[in-house]
């Protein structure tokens, strides 16, 4: 078939197709919205498959070595015991928050502190089937014809988390979601989340990732709806070990007067982080901020693809991604901004700056603007650099050792992002992870 060059042949693909056949009789018990979404998604996935580097959006991220490792598709999850020491890895010192634990995507109330907040509902996805917000929003926003992994996830996901913040509910304490990935044999997981932040509601969600050295390939999909006048502060702290690979899709849908801020930091360890971060600004006076910091090391590949889609007038978006590349790490930044015909008076800014510390480190950066409106302010830019030797000498001439001087300069470089983090404990946590990541 002609599309075969855009797909990678793998047993995992065959397992996915077979899994759908085996499980489809059981899907009937699920919400009709889920059944319909799965049926549509499996067809998309059959067409798309796992993308090869012939697919433009996967040009720099070759999945062949990952798929060669013969990952087994996840089966019905047993309840695994999780060492408290593993969860402690994600702990944010001094932060007063609700801890929510997900093991291979499965919500674990037994390990979580269930927030007793009026208007905040939290459950596994399977327990949410009757909730109106679930029915209204599940599977509605991702264009599955373009996203291979999101199609596979939608067709076959097993476990997930649902958060519904009711109208006017202000959740004071942040929710700290700890995603644990663990397995005996090499396993491919497809966890899923749906967060609905109701009209004039507000919430902060911090998501951390931990692994225990098990070979895992995680294809995560998060759908986020920020309704009128609502606010969400969203943090991703991405860490793990070299046996872990992640493809992580976040789809944000924003309505009028809402604000969504995403702060993403990834650190050395995991072999692969591919992030798809899509935001649709589908109402007037929407504000979105995307701040990203990637510190990569070893042979790590960190790939950030973002889409900011301005659909309505009078919206502001600002995106700043900064990369620090050590050793032989590779980075990809691909940022698209769409300003549609109706989206007059848009302000959309995007910037990607990189600091290459390793002689063999590589970054491919591709900022893209597509503007169909005529009264807008947009800009984008991309830079690559190294340590400024003058600055390094200046610091050393004051008695600061080489390692500390370099760390200071990396912090200084990252500062434009880290200073934006609005929760001081999270900011300190990320600064500490930068120090750790530089060692």
């Amino acid at each position: 078939m002609e599309h075969r060059t855009t797909q990678i042949n793998s047993t995992l693909y065959d397992q996915c197709i077979a899994d759908y056949e085996v499980r489809s009789p059981l899907f009937a018990a699920e919400a009709p919205e889920v059944v319909a979404a799965r049926a549509q998604a499996i067809e998309q996935f059959k067409q798309l498959g796992f993308p090869s580097t012939k697919v433009e959006d996967w040009k720099y991220t070759n999945l062949v070595p990952v798929l060669k490792e013969n990952f087994e598709l996840e089966q019905d999850a047993e309840v695994l015991t999780v060492a408290e020491a593993l969860l402690a890895q994600a702990k944010i010192d001094l932060l007063d928050c609700y801890r929510i634990v997900l093991v291979n995507g499965k919500y674990r109330a037994d390990l979580s502190e269930v927030p007793a907040v009026e208007g905040l509902f939290l459950s596994s996805l399977s327990d949410a089937a009757d909730r109106p917000a679930f029915k209204q929003h599940f599977g509605k926003y991702i264009d599955l014809s373009k996203f291979h992994f999101a199609a596979a996830n939608t067709a076959l996901f097993r476990n997930g988390l649902f958060i519904d913040v009711k109208r006017n509910t202000v959740v004071e304490k942040p929710l700290h979601l700890i995603h644990v990935a663990t397995a005996g044999a090499p396993t491919y997981f497809q966890p899923r989340q749906l967060f609905v932040v109701g009209t004039s509601a507000s919430i902060s969600v911090i998501e951390s990732y931990v692994t225990d050295g098990a070979p895992v390939f995680v294809n995560n999909v998060a759908e986020i709806v920020v309704q009128e006048n609502a606010q969400m502060q969203h943090f991703y702290i991405q860490a793990g070990d070299a046996n872990a690979r992640y493809v992580h899709h976040t789809e944000v849908y924003q309505q009028a007067n809402s604000q969504y801020n995403n702060y993403k930091a990834s650190f050395p360890g995991t072999s692969l982080w591919r992030n798809n971060m899509n935001i649709a600004l589908d109402g007037e006076n929407v504000e979105s901020h995307l701040y990203g910091l990637y510190l990569a090391g070893g042979h790590q590949l960190v790939d950030n693809h973002t889409i900011v889609d301005h659909r309505k007038p009078h919206c502001n978006s600002n995106e700043l991604y900064k990369g620090v590349m050590k050793d032989e790490s590779a980075g990809v930044f691909n940022g698209k901004i769409f300003v549609r015909k109706d989206a007059q008076k848009t302000n959309a800014f995007q910037q990607n700056n990189n600091m290459l510390l390793g002689k063999k480190a590589v970054v491919d950066s591709k900022p893209q603007l597509e503007i169909f409106a005529d009264d807008v302010k947009c800009s984008h830019g991309s830079t690559m650099g190294q340590f400024n030797p003058e600055a390094l000498f200046y610091l050393k001439s004051r008695g600061i050792g080489d390692e500390k001087a370099r760390a200071l300069l990396v912090h200084a470089f990252a500062y434009d992002v880290t200073e934006k983090i609005p929760i001081p404990e999270v900011q300190s946590h990320i600064n500490a992870l930068i120090d750790q990541g530089l060692k």
Binding site: E390, F393, L395, K396, S397, R398, G399, G401, L408, A414
Partner: protein
Amino acid sequence: MLSIKNLKASVEGKEILKGLNLEVNAGEVHAIMGPNGSGKSTLASVLTGKEAYDVTGGQALFEGKDLLDLSPEDRAREGVFLAFQYPVEIPGVSNINFLKTALNEIRAYKGLPNLEAKEFLKLLKEKQKLLEFDAALANRSLNEGFSGGEKKRNEIFQLAMLDPKLAILDETDSGLDIDALRIVSRGVNKLRNGKNSFIIITHYQRLLEYIVPDFVHVLYKGQIVKSGTKELALELEEKGYDWLKEDSHETEAAEILLPR
């Protein structure tokens, strides 16, 4: 304290210092003057360990230790300080965090514990007051958006905080208006305590009216060709450098003609 003997250094294969000798004792202020390109800033860079310079001969002992063997940070920890001619702007590094890190690195080298936050702040306030240094500047990113004068004042503020044994001031007066020059000089004078030493590199005699040197040296073509007291600076101001150049040519010519 500092003993430089027959120091030779080059940059990109070009010899700049051609056998320089200098003795600085504790508590002394030495001024080094000379025309452009004579090697003044090279001397400062070589003494503090800037990478681009190759030492091709001679030695520089600092309190008996071979300075040229030490890394730039260890030279600083031993007590050598350079006030830069062009201080670097480092956005994102706060002045205060930078000073605290530097102080603690120096203390760790000497086997001392980190300074308590309270003690550090006390020291900071004390030195700010002594040097009339604006607290707002201390709280900003390192030199970011500082005027030329503010940068130079920040150098002297760092000097006060780190309290080195030997401070080298590389054209600290360049780009300063007369008021800034007064403030900077007053700061340096307040920091003199009879034990610490200063090497003041300058083009102009003007600075030496405010910071009075014990010795004045003229650097020309990579060598110190004349040394004297502060009166020498006045003489240079009056006569320029040309008369020394002639002297120096004669010396060179004489050397060539000497039978071996």
